[in-house]
């Protein structure tokens, strides 16, 4: 386990690409040394994810970054976090990350990558879900999601402006949290697809990959991470999972997209000759009730869009020697179900010792079965999250309590005063998994 020693704060982390088995990392309060252990650093980004994993391989320490984004800041703003992160990996001059993983293209996972500073960071490989590739199916899904996000956002904005009551306006505004999460990420995605120091020379992998016969490869090994096996649990490529990635049912969504292009005004179904004054009593309450349905359930659609993008999320199990670290991104029911139905994956899940809590601690991003039945060991969990006014159930208290019972869990927005398992710094929380 890690020991805390008080020494004067160091200013620069050493980037060890050489042979040493130990890593020095700066924390706000001092330096910690770890021999022979995997370290996971959770940056406090607020509502978002940013995790730096350092593995002491036979060829020296290797770093994997899982996401970097936020939609609502933590104690520090995103810029500060990115600066800290780059410094932690040897920046500004010798910044190096061996693998950058982008689990899915939501703002709260990619926003940080829009900074220009990334152009100076040397990256070995970038891993993204297969929906980011050039395959026709991938392009189709991406475009469908993007189109819906844009048209839906425009529609919600209009509806909010025209809202009859503050409550209604609030409903539309909060639905925009979903659409905005899915839009405006172009610069960040550009960095991921074409940026960093090596630019297009850097290898991009779209997971899960296929071999030349088209068979899906559910494990990945790379020379950049000697001794590490990555198990790719998701996103699934099967039909049912793809259906989950499609924004709400074909026809309805199409209608929606069309109507918003034409200004979201309902077509006039009949010419003026047919219009008459009230000839029947329909109460005002009923009229208002009926009128509500004409907005095409935009708020519900927004939620479904969010879920569709989450459905593309990478779900990875990182194995090094006998240690298993589980990063499910924001995967939801469809991906989890497919993974748990796979016997091989299920067996691996039982061995998990570290778990990055899915989707900021929300209810159905961590199945009850996983927590109560699957996990065999004591586990260490980290949840990168914060409370959001409109979403009292993220993170779900019951889930956090349940996880705590099985080991230790920490929330990025509620660092513990004392802990044997977590090392708290300024805007960061570390944990070590001894080998």
């Amino acid at each position: 386990m890690a020991t805390k020693r008080k020494t004067p704060p160091a200013t620069k982390a050493s980037s060890s690409r050489k042979t040493s088995n130990s890593t020095r990392m700066t924390t706000g309060n001092g330096t910690a040394t770890m021999k022979n252990g995997i370290s996971v650093r959770m940056y406090d980004v607020g509502f978002g994810d940013c995790f730096l994993v350092t593995i002491p391989t036979s060829n020296g320490d290797r770093r994997i970054l899982f996401d970097c984004g936020s939609v609502a800041k933590g104690r520090k703003d995103m810029d500060t976090v990115v600066d800290t992160l780059i410094r932690d990996v040897g920046g500004p001059d010798e910044a190096r990350i061996d693998v950058v993983v982008c689990t899915h293209r939501h703002k709260d996972h990619v926003a940080g990558f829009s900074r220009k500073e990334w152009a100076n960071v040397d990256v070995g490989e970038v891993w993204m879900p297969w929906t980011e590739s050039d395959e026709p199916e991938a392009i189709r899904i991406r475009e469908a999601q993007a189109r819906l996000a844009l048209s839906l956002d425009a529609h919600l904005q209009r509806q909010a402006a025209l809202a009859a009551t503050p409550a209604d306006r609030e409903r539309y505004e909060s639905a925009r949290e979903f659409t905005l999460n899915a839009t405006g990420n172009e610069t960040a995605m550009e960095t991921l697809h074409e940026g960093f120091k090596g630019r297009t020379d850097i290898l991009r992998r779209f997971l899960p990959e296929k071999d030349k016969d088209g068979k899906i490869l559910d494990t990945l090994k790379t020379d950049l991470l000697p001794g590490v096996t990555i198990h790719v649990f998701g996103p699934s490529r099967d039909e049912r999972a793809i259906r989950d990635m499609d924004p709400p049912a074909g026809k309805t969504y199409m209608q929606f997209a069309v109507s918003t292009e034409e200004g979201s005004n309902a077509p006039d179904p009949f010419s003026r000759d047919w219009w008459v004054r009230n000839h029947k009593t329909v109460s005002e309450t009923d009229k208002v009730h009926i009128a509500r349905f004409s907005d095409g359930f935009s708020t519900v659609v927004a939620g479904s869009l969010d879920s569709a993008v989450n459905g593309t999320s990478l779900m990875l199990l990182l194995q090094f020697r006998d240690k298993y670290l589980f990063f499910p991104g924001d995967s939801q029911w469809g991906t989890w179900n497919a993974a748990m139905e796979n016997n091989k994956f299920y067996e691996l899940m039982k061995r998990v010792q570290f778990y990055k809590v899915g989707h900021h601690g929300s209810h159905n991003a961590t199945p009850i079965q996983f927590v109560e039945k699957t996990i065999r060991n004591q586990i260490v969990c980290m949840a990168s999250t914060r409370s959001m006014k409109n979403w009292p159930h993220i993170p779900l208290t019951k889930l956090m309590d349940n996880l705590a019972k099985r080991g230790a869990v920490v929330r990025s927005d509620q660092p513990p005063a004392r802990s044997d398992v977590f090392l708290v710094g300024d805007g960061i929380i570390d944990t070590f998994i001894p080998l």
Binding site: M254, Q255, P267, S307, I368
Partner: protein, 606 residues
Amino acid sequence: MKATWYGHPSRRPLKIFASDPMAGRTSGNRVTIEINDEPLRPGPSGERLEVIDYDGAHRRFYKPVDLDERAILIQNGLDPSESDPRFHQQMVYAVAMKTLENFDNALGRPLSMKRHGRKLRLFPHALHGANAFYDPEIHAVLFGYFRADRTNPGPNLPGGNIFTCLSHDIIVHEMTHAIVHRLRRHFLEPSNRDVIAFHEGFADIVALLQHFSFTELLRDEIQKTRSDIRLPNHLVQMARQFGFATGTGQELRSALDKDPDPKLYNTVIEPHRRGSIMVAAVFDAFFNIYLRRIRDLIRIATGGTGELPAGDLHPDLVRRIADEASSTAQTLLTMCIRAFDYLPPVDITFGDYLRALVTADYELFPEDKLRRRSAMIEGFRLRGIYPANINSLAEEALLWEVPEGIPALPVNDRKIINWIVRSTEKVSRQAGRARKTTTNRYEESPEDTLAEETMLSKDALFFALGAWADANAPKLHLDRTRPLQVAGVHTVYRVAPDGSLLIELVAQFAQQNRDKVESLGGLPMRGGTTVVASLDGTVRYVVAKPLPSPRISRDKQKEAARREEEQMAYVATLDGRDVQLPYMSTKDMLERMRLRMNFASLHGGF
């Protein structure tokens, strides 16, 4: 004013679109259907339904049609037109009434559709959107309209208007939801995987079979469809040709196409897909019965060889086959609706429905001469739908429990006799026209009866029945220590083909347990029993869904415990899949199962 006695109620013919115009133009797209005549005010507004053309997207009304206007009357209604809103109103009224009549006839009594004193309302152009649904909150069916996609319009004019109210099948589907809700209020509460799926599947079955009962339409289609009329695919293709539209049309068609897979019933959760398993089962039965009925026609037409000639079929043959198909559809529709009286008051499963189908049909036709029941049982069996708590699929095992040693219903009570006599009046033809009666002509829903001015005999009836149920609670699998609600009682009149009259009394008793409301997402656990008795009070069947209670038999206790487990597991399953769940407010979280049950979002495809 002298009352004029015309004898039989007259019929009113009205033109409608036979095929869903959303599926494009097909020739012979018009059909004239007949419904019972009633005086109509502009709307049209009748005694049980009224059409109100209010457009919620534009907040305006459209001119209502007066179907009693002479010029319109003598032409069998307006000609089908997409641009004249009055035709839309006419079509919605006609098809909705036709659906209601099918239920009236099958159930042997006319249903009132009033709720809290309000008629059922239908809004043909209520909202902008590709959606149509029954809204229990305002007791209305709302139809949407929208523009065809410019780039992918399918068979429609790009950017042209599409009206869900012009689809026969959609109107029937939504009306069926409204009627089922009237017959079994608690079937909207999703207490197990089958409940909502049943609502959807049953609505599709009624729409499908009602559509197949249009003989003229079938004649055209049989001739046009190139595949062998003896293959199931033929009927499926016909359904496709009329552009059979359901909540999500795609699912139904593919359900009919595929070979039955019993695994699906165990894995599919989504209500439309699950419902279509049941539809496919009934469709199978339909096809098999139809095949048996045309066998002799084929023999005659081919002189025993069975080889049909290539090219067009003889028009006489086509007509006869069409007649067989449409009468099979009508008979099967009646059979499917009749089963309702034999359903438990709560927590329906597909297995319950199968048992109800078999029992109801057995009551009228003890010998299954036409092998309808065996076709149904087979259809369900092939899809892995097995009723709970039985040990064989033989017909006798599927009949509902015949109770032993239970005393008869207290029919000798004078109040009850009065009530039976009064309800007989309602069904008789003389009652409506010749004289005004003080009693409502239609059988009301239980809530409305109690809400309206008390007709003493009905109130007293409920009291007497409640007392009887209380006294016999154990045999009825009810829990005496819990409040008991008489959820409904009515007489049923049916005529068997041999001319014998079957009169039954059907009573529903319901209870609830609110102890675990939170873990059930805002729903109580419900239990209850439907009792079917003959006119002398002898109890013929007891259809029970017991609540967990130490006061019932050991077997029933196990059943009840299993039901409770399943209800909780279902809540958890839905939670796992609910994209809205993480973002719910605390208030919504507590009521989430209730919130999940609304046709609006279900039909919007979410």
